[in-house]
Symmetry: C2
Subunit: 702 residues, 2 copies
Amino acid sequence: MLFSKNSHHEKFLAGHYTRQPGIRLQLLLLVIVAFFYFHPAAAAEELSSIGLNLMPWPVKDEISGGQFRLTENFYLGGEAKPGHRVFKAGARFMSRLFGRTGLLFEQDYLAAQEINDRTKFFYHFDQPGQLLPGEDESYRLEIYPEKIELTARTDLGLLRGFETLLQLLSSDQQGYFFPCLRIEDFPRFTWRGLLIDSSRHFMPVDVIKRNLLAMSAVKLNVLHWHLSDDQGFRVESKVFPRLHQLGSDGWYYSQEEIKDIIQLASELGIRIVPEFDLPGHSTSWFVAYPEYASAPGPYQIERKFGVLLPVFNPAQEKTYKFLDRFLKEMTALFPDPYFHLGGDEVDPKQWKENPEIQKFMKKNNIPDEPALQAYFNRRLLKILGKYQKKMVGWDEIYQPGLPQDVVIQSWRGQQALVEAVRKGYQCLLSNGYYIDLMGSAEKHYLNDPIPPDSPLTDQEKKLVLGGEATMWAELVSPETVDSRIWPRTAAIAERLWSPAEIRDVNEMYRRLKVINLRLEENGVNHLKNQPMMLRRLAQSEQIKSLEVLAAVSEPIKGYSRHSQGKLYSSLSPLTRFVDACYSESFEARDFKRLVENFIRSRDLRQAKIIETWLELWQVNHQKLVSAESSPAIKEIIPLSEMLRTVSQAGLEALHLIMNGKQADQSWLQAKYKVLEEARKPVAECQLAILPDIELLLGSLKK
Amino acid sequence: MLFSKNSHHEKFLAGHYTRQPGIRLQLLLLVIVAFFYFHPAAAAEELSSIGLNLMPWPVKDEISGGQFRLTENFYLGGEAKPGHRVFKAGARFMSRLFGRTGLLFEQDYLAAQEINDRTKFFYHFDQPGQLLPGEDESYRLEIYPEKIELTARTDLGLLRGFETLLQLLSSDQQGYFFPCLRIEDFPRFTWRGLLIDSSRHFMPVDVIKRNLLAMSAVKLNVLHWHLSDDQGFRVESKVFPRLHQLGSDGWYYSQEEIKDIIQLASELGIRIVPEFDLPGHSTSWFVAYPEYASAPGPYQIERKFGVLLPVFNPAQEKTYKFLDRFLKEMTALFPDPYFHLGGDEVDPKQWKENPEIQKFMKKNNIPDEPALQAYFNRRLLKILGKYQKKMVGWDEIYQPGLPQDVVIQSWRGQQALVEAVRKGYQCLLSNGYYIDLMGSAEKHYLNDPIPPDSPLTDQEKKLVLGGEATMWAELVSPETVDSRIWPRTAAIAERLWSPAEIRDVNEMYRRLKVINLRLEENGVNHLKNQPMMLRRLAQSEQIKSLEVLAAVSEPIKGYSRHSQGKLYSSLSPLTRFVDACYSESFEARDFKRLVENFIRSRDLRQAKIIETWLELWQVNHQKLVSAESSPAIKEIIPLSEMLRTVSQAGLEALHLIMNGKQADQSWLQAKYKVLEEARKPVAECQLAILPDIELLLGSLKK
């Protein structure tokens, strides 16, 4: 009956819209796209087991059975007074419970949080926490049917516990509840960071604030803020105002804004470690002050990306005088005892070509340019010491003669970290946490600052403070940055907080999907910007077929977007399809599990789900080309076509398997060729399901 | 074939998921929901004529034929230097063109915008514009195949022209272009405002900024910023810091932030008129300073809404001394020559009950409380005058004896405006532009500050400066406010800019739908927050059935949400289904047009589209109840059921009409009863399609 009805539609509409071929095609496809609505992901979802949706997973949890039922007479109470970090955290906690449940609680939690007869949720801490590495962040959470108790040594521990409790909110037909349990929890590493690069693309205050909120939701505690680079100097300097006036295109943080952000971070138990990258990555400084560069100016704010030539002149005293005055101002602005001075990727060309510098090196017995950088670092270290700061720098700062009270952040590899630790340096791992490389959450999750096979002694291991995800911003904008950070950084947060043994990837993904939705509560727009971006591309509300394609497409990995024909600059639009795609396709991952299960089990019911999925992708192309006429979509037409082709190959393979048939060798070769072809990037995207189709083909051969 | 395939699916899946009734129901519905994907809105859309998507519509447009093709070597050029208002506007213009098209333009528009050989788009203005009422905002835009010229008397005119040009961007198979034409344009009213209430719910800086950007996109030029009320005092006062410290729960704008916002507004050609509501609506002041109230304290920040008792004491000199010092500070902070002092909704109770005040009135021959308010206003007017500000106030400030250099903002009705104008006052219309009442764009659009039948003389009409949409914030949060302001305020913007004769409602809605999408480019989240809110309600990504219901549901109108059983306070969550619904259902409007056309034409093709739509709504309920188990959804189950019931009634009526049959009288009565029943609000929502179903029934009777 449905079928005949649609045919009917088709006829009368075809007559009506003869001049609009798009509509006719749409109608021809109507029958097939029936599949769309029953999305196969929904079914796969139901297959997974139900567990607590905690991330990071706590050290110890004992479920005691029973529930604490949440009602509108829920009152929280503790020792915090208005204005205190915990009071504000309590208010945010209540507000988020409000928001998620729609309940109108009775308590005016903004006015008072004292303990009284009505208190159901008790929080208690012994002392204010210091925002320092090594500070106690432990907490104990006990949920009973009639009350909830959260206890911590420091108020920082309470903040972590509030987030755990929020993650425990559950519901059933009767309403909302918390499951009764007892959790004891503390972090494995004391330095759990996220780097945000505000230089390559300026990230306005609200980007920083919402990401701080999201960080605190997964217990991260360090924002490493990359504030200067070739493409922009982003901090107001009152001592050298021309730095931000000439070096930022007007996009910088005022000192008031920085204080405001530091205040919020402190309320969330997050340290802010600023980075001013020196002596390289410094073009934007020289727009105002070419006299501190190693080659004569004039300089302009750099638009291109990469390792560029401009570098500070370490051979003249006035450089250090300038940096001393500058660092005096900035070390006062940023209260954290650690201060990051970059130190990475120095191109020695300007040093080599400047005779004054070469003269200086000879005079001072500085044998080569790395040694010159070490000299520069020693000078800066002295300055930082004067202002009571500990220096942090990238791998390259490690050179013979570098004092040991420096923290080395390893971006080049685990081996670099091991070497630095063995030399007695405190270290942070960032290699393997480069989220701008568009890798999978799995890859980051399994990357451990101290892997099971670490050659370090127990004593040495103590020098590994933790790690940092790095959101380098060459190809992210304020619009897309959230979707590059989240949800993958939540998996990194678990690696840095939870016991090393917690490393079940499937279980991580199960929880990550829930956390992914929950993160929206903190204002990050990692999910909600994709449809907006697709609407803008299509200049239409009708984006279903684009969404289907986007769900199985990923930006190409590594830094290969830079070698696909477009020369990106900091002015380039990051509004294309590739920018709208998530860095990791969860749908492809679900599909892969299905295929793997099917190949193992040969269960025809699973084959049917796989078939539905493949059919969905197969028919999408015709829908997309008939619906989308926007020029901005043009570049992905071949990607869409590729999805059709590989899905067709997958379907044929599946049908052979289902029917117990063998594949013809030439047929098989042709299909492999299709896959080979499909591996070529299109519009800087790749289909995430190619390995899964290959699995199907591979299983056929056997 | 499809049908049999699905039956197949259904069987094997039904077996697989016997313990999951949700899945079975989903599959049973699969066939029916085939309709969903081919959304009937898509067809209706195509019925409309294609025209320029300009809003506000310009005074004069002549399409000359031909196109200016947009390519990557598009350069803009004019006399603006970096830092200038127009330079920044040019940069934003280019960035938005980038973003929409994905093109990588060659020009480094951040470095320079000088005119040279490559310039394709020329802008020119004679003089900087003053941000004052009456300033010239006219512009002329000429698009030729080989170049574009934008000319204006002032830079403000250029800003308006940039927006027009952006609205003209079009595309075809070959790419992007601007249609060749000549536009001459200027505003009908000089005061085109939006009030944002930051007191009832605090609106963080980014809310204000993104809405300023959206305002400029539709040529609004006044942000009326309601900064204090019973529920919060939102501005940092350095003279009386306890005002914001005790009166804001910590949610206030620092003076730096206010300056930053004023700066952005100025760059956008938008004036900021602050409002401190006096002498009523002032509880939050008295938390810190009870001594200026008319009744003894202590006072607390008010959480409830309404006309409350606390009011300034106008009978003591110290009140005026305090307000003088306060206004001295604030008039310096806000550069606009106009300053709003509220003056609305004073409850005279505290004045009547305070013997000192009564004594003062007798002594000074003040006959009654309105006269006392007039006295208060005269005193404040004097203070404002001292600081070179003109006073603006609500209707109530008009009392005999009020000097004429005051602007009266009419919220109580057109008649109040006419009366004030006839008394010689400059006036603003807000009555009819109360967007918090959840009315239709149509209603606001047809509401004219000087309606065709205005009794005013031409001379008097000059006193009507314009109007303001008012976004009162009792029931909006930073999360929902954009969706309450937009897109309806764009229709108001057209009323205030375009010639009075432009009032074709269907044509307005055609353009409004396009503008609605385009507004997202300015960062407003009026569209992208709905799915996020539905995901949070459902605690799931699967929100299709909720979206179908939301698309035809509207929050109940007027202030009736306050009388539905929930006592709203400023702490209440605004995260429920009613908050996620748009204030106006475009889908119901499209459907209405379909039904009207069908009733007129009895065209069976239209009947078929109507049928598809009704079937979609009819089946949605079963899908919703099987998919959604979140407690937060519970309250809308009856609404969803109601949609099924009325759609069923509509379907039955439609089938009778299609088959040329008469309706049985008792059947008809039963259906009317269904509609009557459906008019009762559910969860503070109403179905927007009820009048359309009634149309169908009504047409049957005849």
